[in-house]
Symmetry: D2
Subunit: 278 residues, 4 copies
């Protein structure tokens, strides 16, 4: 029976990689629907994403590729199934709402398992969409105490990605390391400009003519993780920082949703502090 | 001795194309510096552009590829040499000037063999850059008479591409067919909006909030050829059509120069009325 | 008691207009929070939008302005109150959903009185937000019969603007004339390119490298009304028309919401077939 | 005889400013061709730029305005004459070339009096355009020694603005203070991201998906002066830092030329570390 899979490969570059991979596809009689490669020139690292179609077993394909290629090669054969995601939020509804609308319209290859927030005001919005909402207040708690409650709640679920849709809490290294490579954040500035608190206020103070938003993987270094997507809009002297904040919301939500789509389609490779996005 | 070449392949899609091409590269011990493929889904047409590096003869590589692949496959092995271009202009200097500056700075992989214009005012600018300028006036001539003079002059040169840098004359099918696939034009609108004369006036009359420019191959159908690149800028009610025209010049020159660079690097495949741009 | 109002003035340009208006403001001891003027140079038509603050009665201010200015001058003094809007939709949720989320977050100066659709699938989404949803099917009805039902339903409500959030029905002149100047549409192309049905398919066929969306007032001429806002995104040969459609939704919803905000803040003057947007 | 002038006013905001200014225009029987005001809300500072037309003497208009307004008000009446500019460069030709082409086409309201560079390679390009070129080498000189030579050369000229068209030397506070408010720089990044040396390398290291350029007034704080204009372009993982640098040149030159045009048309007010751009 014909099926489809995404083949994700990365390894140090050597001669013949494309040849060997395409040989396996050829011998298994697969169609290549799309194929993208990139060799990162600094470290000579090879990346490849193919979408193949044919009558095959994903395990068998992975096995054949592993046999053909070196043991240093990362190989993943991913059927295009829905991924499970958890969304963390605080009180703003624009980024969360954008994901909920897309999800309900069937536009996202994802199941939203839960929304967890440190404030309660988004409860109604989330439950409207028949998605479980959990309120874990941070009131009167230390950062660590609150995070422990969050981690406890999160441990109840199995998920592929955690999306910070304007979750306004700083995560500790302990938290981040537990979900390494799985947390995606939207930062409300054109990183690396305006790292840290209230970037719109910083942007206003600096008198910039363009503001932006950045979707990135979360690492231990605050606002320093690999960037997945960025976009900007023009502002002018008529914008005070609250106007910038309002205008910025449109970019934030579009950039986060765009990054989410890329990640759900397995189009993003992380390499050091950068991404390769096919 | 190590050298580099661009391998350009297109043909109806069949299984094993990537495999066969990469097999040839592998057997000739070539490094693949970059590699892009695309299968046009409507007509199942396959496109591939590879940059390979190694100790090889371009002719031998082309020969090996032809032996491996079907006779229906278009194969070109192009060494990254400078291409010869001719520029046609009328009286505006922005698009022409942008190319001249880039050329003088060594940014373009091209030799500008000549500039031919139907007005004389650009002569000084062009000759400043030590490039031959030919003035072929259209005064008191029919379109055909003027074109015959142009064709006569053009026949003196051997060139790869003819760039219409705001050449404000309509070309006849006779002219176009003579240089099929070699003529690149910048149209001063976001095609297909505002086909024909004075697009900025049309844009002003329509009250649009964004204007643009389009670089495209010239075909018999005026302003209907395959699009290579487009870009836009915002305007508002404060712009009259002359303001739009002035503002539009920045987009025109950037888009034309961007398209020229793509073409000079053999990144553009034409397929029917569309382009595949790697 | 201090209050605020928007003063909207337009008339044929004559000397002293700004002087006379600002004199009234000065004599009533008003603060000018913002002030924008524009003289359309072709027809010498004057436009002004001021936001004033002070201890005044809107009626009294309007009266004073009318006394000072010529009878040919259009003067409106608008307190910054919420406007009532009705949304028409068909089956796509992105533009509608974007407005609903903003509305629930308190971002829109509007009450959404009702959503009316010719399909039923958006019912759940709308009612989640506690907004009345009316389904008026067009099945087995002529355009006129369906419109009569729509007009009947619309006549039950008092509203300032009717927003076509991807309402995929063509309106008759009868319908449009009944709500002249009150209907705002989002067209899924960068007008005037791709007027008419399925612009994304047209865009794909033409091989464009940029697609866009246009928010405009609806007039008798389909897709020809005054443009309020436009925006674009880049596409490439990898996009088939369905991909363009998906990518285009982000632009559509942002452009429609941006136009809606401008209209709700009384920032848009219509003049002939164009807009002045302050 | 009818003439035209730009009236530039700024002062702490008080009631009646627009009234008083427009009263003077009215009494002198002037037409207002365009008029823009802005009150900076934080410090309640008022800005106004009017273009007036009529039969008047600029001095008399300035006098009348001064009589009507408070002594704390900055008033300038500027006839729309060409301004004198000096360009400083190093070795890159794109930003300089863009200005030279525009200048020769009569697009800039400026006389380019001289180009001064610390390298010699741009001499030919500049002299092609019949503009004096001065080479002031920095070889074997301390920063101060080189600047003294620059200052000496600059002291020979009378000019309104000094344009740093990729002048790759850091200016000392002594230099800057001598030409306070007159120096405009293009910084090759989207400030405040990537302050300092080699922003493209920094951008590449950080893995950003968008790069930009910033035109700003030069102050004592390196890369911290008031921003006039900014713009960006998209990049991806295929760009190494040299590719970013090449792509960035297009943005640099367009942004610098746009800022130059704004400044030459007296559209830019500096207020603290920000600009108001009409």
């Amino acid at each position: 029976m014909e099926q489809r899979a995404r083949v994700l490969i990365d390894c140090p570059d050597t001669k013949g990689l494309v040849y060997k991979v395409s040989k396996v596809f050829f011998e298994l009689n697969l169609n290549i629907d799309s194929n993208q490669e990139f060799v990162e020139p600094e470290h000579r690292h090879f990346f490849m994403r193919s979408v193949v179609r044919g009558d095959f077993e994903p395990n068998q394909l992975e096995h054949s590729l592993k046999k053909e290629l070196d043991s240093s090669v990362n190989i993943k054969v991913v059927p295009p199934a829905k991924k499970n995601i958890i969304i963390l939020a605080t009180k703003e509804s624009h980024a969360l709402g954008d994901i909920l609308i897309r999800h309900q319209a069937g536009e996202l290859d994802a199941n939203i398992i839960a929304v967890i927030a440190n404030r309660e005001n988004l409860k109604e919005l989330v439950e409207q969409f028949n998605i479980p909402f959990y309120h874990i207040s941070a009131d009167n708690l230390s950062r660590e105490e609150h995070e422990d409650l969050m981690l406890e709640k999160l441990s109840e679920f199995k998920f592929d990605y955690m999306i910070l849709a304007k979750y306004m809490r700083i995560l500790t290294p302990k938290f981040v390391s537990k979900y390494k490579g799985k947390i995606i954040n939207i930062h409300h500035s054109f990183l690396p400009a305006f790292i840290g608190a209230n970037p719109y206020k910083q942007a206003y103070e600096r008198g910039v003519k363009i503001i932006g938003a950045t979707a990135h993987y979360v690492t231990d270094d605050l606002d320093e993780g690999p960037i997945i997507a960025q976009d900007v809009i023009s502002v002018n002297h008529r914008f005070n920082w609250r106007d910038m904040q309002k205008a910025g919301r449109d970019v934030e939500k579009i950039v986060l949703s765009r990054a989410l789509k890329l990640v759900l389609e397995d189009r993003v490779f992380v390499h050091g502090n950068k991404t390769v996005v096919f």
